[in-house]
Symmetry: C2
Subunit: 255 residues, 2 copies
Amino acid sequence: MIQGVATRFERIKARPAYELVAEEIEGKILAGILRPGDPIGTESELVKQFGVNRSTVREGIRLLEQSGLVARESSRRLSVAVPHYHGLATRMSRALVLQQVTFRELFHTSRALGPGSIDQAIDNRTDEDLEALDANLARTREMRHDARAVAELDAEFHRLLDGATHNRVLLLAKEPVNILVRPTTAHIIANNPSGIPRLIEAHGHLVDALRTRDREKGRLWIDRHLRDWKAGFEISGRDLDSAVEAIIGDGRGEA
Amino acid sequence: MIQGVATRFERIKARPAYELVAEEIEGKILAGILRPGDPIGTESELVKQFGVNRSTVREGIRLLEQSGLVARESSRRLSVAVPHYHGLATRMSRALVLQQVTFRELFHTSRALGPGSIDQAIDNRTDEDLEALDANLARTREMRHDARAVAELDAEFHRLLDGATHNRVLLLAKEPVNILVRPTTAHIIANNPSGIPRLIEAHGHLVDALRTRDREKGRLWIDRHLRDWKAGFEISGRDLDSAVEAIIGDGRGEA
DNA sequence: ACCAATTTGTCCGTATGTATG
DNA sequence: TCATACATACGGACAAATTGG
């Protein structure tokens, strides 16, 4: 292919106007000119400012809406929002499911994240965190014969444990993983309720480790807990290298 | 508040039609009825199927477009896509920046993720991974007097290191963190080039740990490397509890 | 390489239900 | 209570780009 010197041009960008609209507003938000809580102008205002049609503005707003940068407040009025974990994490989890990641990958990631996050929970936990964990533990003991309830309480337990790190970055990194872990765990518990006592024992020791700020103990029990999780998966007869298929909400729900 | 028995109704949900359109298509994708690569029907087709106006269909499609479930192929034609890491991770990082997470949170998260991911890299690395790392290392040594180049090569080094885990879940969990780490590191290196020899030394030992599959050594040097990173940040005179403010691309770029 | 049909991007005008003052 | 403003949704239209012969 013979190309003259003249081909050194920037690729011309005929981007749709609705993308440009979204990008413009996004830029203002990321630059801090528009701050969380600030109202986005009305559609008519934006129409005037950008000099494009109403429909075009609306399409642009849809993009921002989905990215979480703007959200409906009380009414239908749109304002700048701080994208919330859950929606983003849900989308990431979906991406993983669509990529057919394996249980093995999920397990090793949980394993990699375990010690570090229990350390931080031990360092940063508050008395309120302990209370919540104690309450969860008590409730789990009560419901130990109800596999469904135990699964839900286990999910809550680990949410509380992660929350005790008081580290938003860590929380966000773990959340997509947790979303995949949850349904798998529920399946394991339902399939093999005989593991519930061990689960409760592990939870108890973990809370204890947080209470006494005992890192050794924390790491020990999180490791056992994860091993049990893997063992439970294997007992349920599934292949470690089978794709994780989770039932995941759409992250759009209000709650 | 006296409430009659008749108040036990579900809250009625008048969701906009464009959301319903998006949800419907999303459901088909998640259920596997529409598979990656499949073209979304043309707008006119969707208009007929859903019985709504074309503008409404288009707004719905914008939501899917931003969520990454559909993407433009070569042309403007939209087809089902597997949401790509980078775009999602970028959005997550943005969320963290908007939440004004601190360097301290970022550091402790990196610290929590470090040992586990180096372990996995050691277990799963291939000879190709080693080659790429060697090449990166050689190049870094060459460019050791150019702080900018070193910063970029350092970013690439850690990308390669993470890639060597061959664990997509771990990769996705780390990516939002890495996006925040990168500009911070660049700043540190630019501010204090005297740390470059230590950085190169650490990289060398890490590659060595991967080559010999030496976990002890890997953990040791990733720990040192992270400590140096934190020390560099402190030397640059910034507060550990100051918010991370990163220059982040919009994740919409092509390439 | 050309043409015809299709499809997307954009625009205009209008109607309707609802929230705010 | 009423009036106004606004978001949602609809219909039709046209130019430019893409597709497929």
